[in-house]
Amino acid sequence: MEIYRHACPRNCFSTCGMLSYIEDGKLVKVSGDAKHGYNQGRLCAKGYAYTQYVYNPYRLKHPIRQTPRGSGNWKRITWEEAYDCIADKILELNERYGSNLASGYNKFSGNIGLLHYAVEGMFNSIGPHTKPVGNPCLITGEQAMRKSFGQMNRMMPEKMAEMNAIVIWGANPAVTNVHQMKFILQARQKGAKLIVIDPIFTRTAATADIFIQINPGTDRWLALGVAKLLIESNMYDEEFVRNQTVNWEEFHQYVTEQVDLHEVCRETGISLDVLCELLSIYSMPKPCATWIGFGIQRNENGGQNISAINTLAMLGCQSGQENRCVYYSHSGIDDFPVNLLNHEGPVHPIVQHSREIDINNFAENASKLVEPPLKFLWIALRNPLSQDQDFQAWESLMKELELIVTVDLFMTKTAEMSDLVLPAASHFEEMDVNVSYWHHWLSINEKAISPYYEAKSDLQIARELMEKLNERFPGFSNFPSEREPIDWIREELTPSVKKLYSIESIDDLLESPRLRGEEGKNLSSSAFKFRLFSEENTDTSTYSMNREKTDVEESYPFQLLTPQSLLKIHSQYEAMPWLNQGAEQAVVELSEYAAEKRGILEGDKVELFNPNGKIAAIARISRFLPQKVILVNQAGKNPINRLIAHKPQENPGKSSMNFYDSSVNIRKWCETNG
């Protein structure tokens, strides 16, 4: 039996070190890599199901083409034919419009290995084109963190085990970051208090010593309320405030004049007693971790919520700055050159830059493009027709597109609507190198088995397709097709990366994943200045008290929250029988209040609707859900994101998608509704 080393490349905090066990060229088993200090030899349920992922009867085996699009009339073609078809289109569009701006891609986080930036590298290599910018996931929070701290924190998540209190705001590691739970529960076993603040009684909340349920999106009120109590009772760190904050006066005045505790209680739904309980945690002169989940910033007050929580965390914990830890995310990738992403393409005589579209409004913006319109779209590492918002915009965009190519391992909702579908390799079938957006480990991903049937990695496809283009039109692309995956990895391991991770060569990574060295203590350096909360734009006050109810709120009184489910990541893993035991039907969770108002009983078939569309599901009545919250897990046969369409954002590329600002209504399902 051969054993290879891998990194799980899913869009997940844990980016686990993994071992594969190969017998006669077949993956027979996986296990966690005991040398990986974060997952410590374990995997999650999804990770343990990888044999079913690789050898799945639904996995795509060959390049296929359907005519007409969406008909399901698929025909197997050769890679040659696929490449020809794509090259024809790119060259023809180039000739038609004089540039490659009519060609574009939509790609996100289906595999977060560094070599999967091959998609960007491939498009860069043909000169200016149309590309998405931004990040639907966590960028609002990242901006807010940088604003508060001047940079991203580099706190090791393993250190949570040494804390005396852990306050989790809107994160649910028990579902989305399973391996963090051991550090949290280790601290708890040693006597630390675990506090979870969430609108939902999550699995993480269930493990907490104190669970505080909060009205969705009102976290900043809670943080400011507790901060006010801290200041009023003189329990904050005056020395810190004097020396290392920039806007104390302004903040102090704001808290004194604008933050009313009664209002805080009303907005958040939390009583004053509970505020005081939180005060006692934050004023404890012992190490205390605050973890801000991505859910906090999936609404229009996201940045403000995070800024307020940061402020509370920094004001409290008065026994020294090293006791203040705020966890959000780790920007491990910043250390790397990411050569594929930053590959410089040939200069175009007229068009200077690529066209950038905010990924959070991709379909709508892309369909508005003129001179030239977008005609060819390459979709990889993403399933927008399940996971993006505003499906109507996607439908109209697709009508305008002359060629849609999707690269995936499975026949996703998006693949179903493509002209060409190319089979992608799993991470056992390709080489890669991975860092995490949470922990500080660097891992190599070896190629353990040959690709499933005709599957290919994104990098391999880029190499071959660009070569094909250059055969047809010499010099069309400057992609270095001759470069092997291992060459790209070597180039990522720059001298500074090697120093940071104490490695000499790629061989060290084949021996074991490596931990990033710690830098000096950022927060204690005197140069560090913390920016306390300040109210920014007036638009945030839309959430403040005494506002009038809009018509939309009257007709769609329920707020839709769509968290991850345990055994999936977005729409990934849907085809694995081990992970899909129960009924395939979508489930809607609603409060007892909503159930009573709408006359809905447990198990009833219901319909969730708003102007964007509707979905049918089975009702599950929860005792623990806030009255006006409706909960649906992501993905499924009829993805819930159908109901999500958000207003355009002001700073393209600078904010996350406000998935949680969607209003819906619910009713019992009946035939005539349809």
């Binding site: 410590q40 999650c44 529960l185 009684f201 010593d209």
Partner: protein
């Protein structure tokens, strides 16, 4: 040569389990069982606790007692095994077991069940489920020698243990504070 009599058993810490299901799927990964066959099952015990159960390798296994083919054996280390060569798939053990441990395998048309990964144990490794548990909510010990005052023999929601004396012990859940919206 015979070994000393042991009773290997699971210890489940209710407080440390948050129902991540890694143990259940790790079991499938190790044993590559059919998708309908669940040697280990994670279920919700109460609103805020979970339970992970497999075969409990009982002191008085009902499966052993009811099997008309005498297909079950109890090894010296306490592991209850089923000999699939003798199993006719009659299903009596499946009905008799209070914990739903024996599972009908539609492919082989026989009963199969958790064997506590004895091939792994023989190599000095813990069972796959135990290895996979990131918080160590699930551990395994020799119950003949294991002792801890905080341990209890059963928890609310667990089937009656009197009949079979399952080789499982528990650390019960502790008190928590909940502040729900009104």
């Amino acid at each position: 040569m015979r070994q000393m009599v042991k009773q290997m058993g699971f210890v489940f810490n209710v407080d440390l389990c948050f129902g991540c299901m890694a143990c259940e799927i790790a079991c499938r990964n190790e044993n590559q069982t059919d998708s309908t066959v669940r040697w280990r099952k994670v279920s919700r015990l109460t609103d805020d606790t979970f339970l992970s159960v497999s075969c409990n390798h009982c002191n008085s296994p009902e499966c052993f007692r009811v099997c008309p083919e005498n297909a079950f054996t109890k090894r010296g280390d306490g592991i209850v095994q089923i000999n699939s060569d003798l199993c006719t798939g009659c299903g009596l053990c499946i009905e008799a077991c209070p914990y739903g441990a024996p599972q009908y395998d539609p492919v082989t048309q026989k009963a199969s069940k958790c064997q506590m990964c004895y091939p792994r144990q023989d190599r000095g490794l813990p069972p796959a489920c135990v290895e996979s548990c990131s918080t160590e909510a699930l551990t395994f010990v020799d119950l003949n020698t294991f002792c801890d005052k905080k341990i209890v023999g059963s928890i609310p929601g667990f089937p009656d243990t009197r009949l079979t004396n399952p080789s499982i012990a528990f650390y019960p859940a502790t008190e928590r504070k909940r502040y729900f919206l009104k």
